[in-house]
């Protein structure tokens, strides 16, 4: 574990005293230290395009009273800098008094190992794999015109100091390996992208030449898109494949179940607790405790241990995702969902690994039941307006369905739906639940955090497909 006081005139005792002093009339708050080492190595256009290493260090000091949050951050860890931050917090909260809540659950459970993935694999062996990827794909097919492959890895060490010297720490590894390929045939160009990753060493993901499988998958997606026809436009039935398409769940209802939007009553779900919001058979959880997953955390960024939070059980809305601030104001408990991108940002309630659990049907049954619709296998990204509930996501691999049979692949189209009603349109839930490959980043209020998703195949009765074919 990093010693944040090692090269500073600020001692642990000083920091504890300043924290206790600053927060004594506040409801909550903490001093958050963070040290992040990260690297990105990128091959593009037949060359190693860049190798970047970054080392970021800083603190964020937060004081909370009633609904008001005062925050100050700096990358200078010194007595002077922390005192300046303290003054800043006090001046904001001077007329708002609170009572510090000392209770925070402790847990020793670990869902990933304390490793530094960057140092565990030599630069030379990373360069070697990137070059192999490039050669493999370009030799595989002359249609391949562009290959981009990258390693990114980081080790983030955090320490949280709460009032009265209570300290909580975590060390979080995270890696991602990504391949993108562009192919060209008769002047038409299409791309395919695939990636893998999580909170383990690079080699855990790359054993047995697994990079080849990543290449094959990116190439397969690009090849399919090369044959794609214009997508239909209008309302129709949609079958979603298992795994990554669960970003529909993430966008359509996940964000709407985050505590802040519901405390402020601006989420379309804020008055639906205990009510039926999804078809029977639909159960959705947000789980921070799955080993080595991209969205997993030992503790959240306020120090609360993560957990498996049931959001929707058999169609009924059961819980929101909470950080400490929103939990206190809504008179409930934190679900260990308080997260921040880094020390420069305030904590917000966020998703971890959001999953729809298995049902009983098979994907074949779903496809067979559709006269006209689409089968969506993979998506690029999504977005939601949590107030109106409208959400979109972009297909990167999808097919037409006609008379119960899968037809031609269709061009990338946007699907749009309404969050609160979409889950009531789920008429079949499959038995083939899959986790995504470990590539998701969720954006909210300008902060990106790593997340995971999972789901079985599902059939949605009615969604609008944003194609160009009328």
């Amino acid at each position: 574990m990093i010693n944040f006081f090692e090269k500073s005139d600020l001692s642990r005792k000083d920091a504890e005293n300043i924290v206790s002093d600053t927060l004594k009339n506040c409801d909550d708050g903490e001093l958050y230290f963070e040290d992040t080492k990260s690297e990105t190595i990128l091959l593009d256009d037949n060359k190693i395009k860049s190798s970047n290493y970054s080392s970021d260090l800083g603190f964020g000091f937060r004081a909370v009273s009633k609904e008001v949050v005062a925050y100050s951050h700096s990358n200078e860890i010194s007595k002077d800098s922390l005192k300046k931050s303290s003054e800043n917090l006090r001046s904001t909260l001077k007329s708002i008094k609170g009572t510090y809540n000392h209770s925070i659950i402790k847990s020793n459970k670990k869902f990933y190992e304390d490793i530094n993935p960057i140092d565990q694999k030599s630069l030379n062996s990373k360069l070697e794999i990137l070059n192999k990827v490039n050669d493999y794909l370009r030799k595989k097919d002359l249609k391949v015109k562009q290959v981009t492959a990258s390693f990114s890895g980081e080790q983030k060490s955090i320490e949280i100091i709460r009032s009265e010297g209570e300290a909580l720490t975590d060390v979080r590894p995270l890696i991602r390996f990504n391949v993108s390929v562009m192919i060209e045939k008769n002047g038409r160009k299409e791309t395919g992208v695939y990636g893998i990753g999580g909170r383990q060493s690079y080699d855990q993901y790359l054993q047995d030449d697994n990079w080849k499988n990543v290449c094959e998958e990116a190439f397969r997606i690009a090849s399919i898109n090369l044959e794609s026809v214009p997508a239909p436009a209008g309302e129709m039935k949609v079958v979603l494949g298992p795994g990554w398409p669960a970003i529909l769940i993430h966008e359509a209802i996940g964000h709407g179940l985050e505590g802040d939007f519901n405390r402020k009553k601006i989420s379309a779900f804020h008055n639906l607790m205990g009510q039926k919001v999804a078809s029977e058979g639909v159960t959705i959880v947000d789980d921070g405790t799955i080993e080595n997953r991209r969205g997993s955390l030992n503790i959240d960024d306020e120090g609360t241990p993560t957990e498996r939070t049931v959001l929707i059980e058999n169609g009924i809305l059961k819980n929101f995702m909470q950080d400490r601030l929103n939990a206190r104001l809504m008179k409930t408990r934190s679900t260990g969902s308080g997260r921040r991108e880094n020390y420069k940002h305030i904590v917000l309630p966020r998703m971890r690994n959001t999953m729809m659990l298995n049902g009983k049907q098979t994907r074949d049954e779903m496809i067979k039941s559709v006269d006209k619709g689409i089968f969506a296998v993979s998506f690029g990204g999504g977005q939601v307006d949590i107030t109106s509930g409208k959400f979109v996501f972009n297909c990167t691999e999808a097919y037409e369905i006609y008379n119960g049979k899968i037809g031609s692949p269709i061009k990338g189209a946007t699907l749009i739906g309404d969050g609160p009603s979409i889950l009531k349109e789920v008429s079949m839930v499959g038995n083939d639940m899959m986790l995504d490959p470990g590539i998701g980043t969720c954006g909210k209020a300008g902060q990106g955090v790593p997340v995971g998703v999972a789901q079985p195949s599902i059939l949605i009765n009615k969604m609008t497909v944003g194609g160009t074919k009328l």
Binding site: S51, V69, H73, T92, N124, N394, I416
Partner: protein, 438 residues
């Protein structure tokens, strides 16, 4: 106070000389400090105060045609030394890339124009609070508004860019911005919308009353929306959305996309890609401009460019690396466009609304449905149905789709250009796109 030029210079010089000492043939360094203070309000009371002080350094070392980079927020000499050693070690084992190099010396900026992009005025937090109080007062006048969130941010930044060819320059910039997001509710639905202002000078931002009122009006008029059928219809993009079409164009003409062959506009130079009435400029020396700069992120002088002339593509956005690959000179666009805009069209806003008897007027899009490789465009949208120049009713839960190759050739612009952002467009109409709805 934001760190001064001397401090940033001393750090940059320390790094350059160390890199040289280690044996780097070339090196470049950027040191930047940015201080932001934000105050946020919600429903007329203080919600958050946030002070951010960020210092960052990034260093690239070259050994002839090999290169690698590091960045850090820890500027202690001892840490920088460790990082530069690591950086140079990495450089040595990174393969040669013949196009790696510092910018050509003769292209480096020689004289820094005063672009009036730094206002030293300080607005204390209690003054920000006064602004937000007044703003929220006006934002929440309308009964249907059930939530307002607004914030005021003051930013002061300074930076130095230095390289081993002797370039060493930088300057301060400032910005003042305020935003208001309102939520309106009726029996059946909730909607949100916003207004926003950002200027280099404090005395030029919108007044709080206007900002609050516009946010409130934008939001309330979205209530009671309908979904329309799937059809081909002429689409009018509000200014705040039209600029996104221009940004998509810009990403398709960056030299990296061109040299990699991943742009639908590759090989289109000197060809007509827009309707013949369209002119596009990128102007780095706009006085007080949000996107103004004296030189790009490599130190190359940037001059005003006409990217599109009467519909013809005339220039790419070129940096040093991709320029060398394409055998073209950098035109000072490493880091992208500056103040990018469509020149005004011939007709006014009201005339534009009346060209067709039936239009879909788009005020917001969601999703990331821009594909630069193929030119395909498909996004979720909200807006209004406009008939005979009149706004009839709000429309939501639809998508709009097309391909830029066709869309660009069917653009008609109004004459209401204003410089509210770094990328700006007049109100824009595009014929022949497909709406997917019911």
């Amino acid at each position: 106070m934001v760190k001064n030029q001397e401090y940033l210079k001393s750090k940059a010089e320390f790094c350059l000389s160390l890199a040289k000492k280690l044996g780097a043939s070339d090196a470049s360094v950027t040191v930047a400090n940015s201080i932001s203070e934000t105050v946020s309000f919600r429903n007329k009371i203080l919600d958050e105060s946030n002070r951010s002080d960020s210092l960052a350094i990034s260093i690239t070392t070259y050994q002839n045609k090999k290169k690698s980079s590091i960045s850090s927020s820890n500027l202690l000499d001892e840490n920088l030394k460790t990082l530069i050693e690591k950086c140079f070690e990495t450089t040595r084992i990174t393969p040669i890339d013949e196009f790696n190099s510092l910018p050509d010396k003769e292209l480096l900026a020689k004289k820094i124009k005063d672009l009036n992009i730094y206002d030293d005025t300080r607005i204390e937090n209690n003054k920000k609070i006064e602004y937000l109080k007044e703003l929220e007062e006006f934002a929440s006048l309308e009964k249907k508004i059930i939530n307002t969130e607004s914030s005021f941010t003051e930013n002061k930044s300074n930076f130095i860019l230095a390289n081993s060819d002797g370039f060493c320059d930088g300057y301060k910039t400032s910005s003042f911005s305020a935003s208001c997001v309102a939520v309106a509710k009726d029996e059946n639905s909730m909607e949100r919308d916003y207004d926003y202002t950002k200027k280099r000078y404090l005395n030029e931002i919108k007044n709080p009353k206007e900002l609050g009122k516009v946010a409130s009006e934008n939001t309330v008029k979205k209530l009671k929306s309908n979904k329309i059928g799937s059809e081909k219809i002429s689409i009018i993009f509000d200014k705040r959305i039209a600029k996104g079409i221009l940004s998509a164009f810009a990403s398709a003409v960056t030299s990296s996309a061109i040299s990699r062959g991943t742009s639908f506009l590759k090989d289109k130079i000197n060809q007509q890609i827009f309707s013949s009435s369209i002119n596009i400029f990128d102007k780095p020396d706009l006085i007080k401009g949000i996107g103004s700069q004296s030189f790009d992120s490599e130190g190359v002088q940037s001059e005003t460019m006409k990217l599109v002339d009467k519909g013809y593509l005339k220039e790419y956005l070129i940096d040093t690396y991709n320029g060398k690959k394409l055998n073209l000179k950098s035109n000072g666009r490493s880091g992208g466009t500056t103040n990018l805009y469509f020149e005004n069209g011939e007709i006014n806003y009201n005339q534009l609304l009346k060209i067709n008897s039936r239009n879909l007027y788009i005020t917001d899009t969601i999703g990331h449905g821009v594909n630069i490789v193929t030119g395909d465009y498909s996004v979720g949208a909200t807006g209004f149905l406009v008939e005979n120049g009149e706004f009839k009713y709000p429309v939501s839960e639809i998508t709009i789709a097309g391909n830029f190759n066709d869309m660009f050739k069917n653009i008609t612009l109004a004459n209401d250009l204003s410089f509210d952002f770094a990328t700006n467009s007049p109100t824009m109409m595009i014929d022949g796109m497909v709406v997917a709805g019911k």
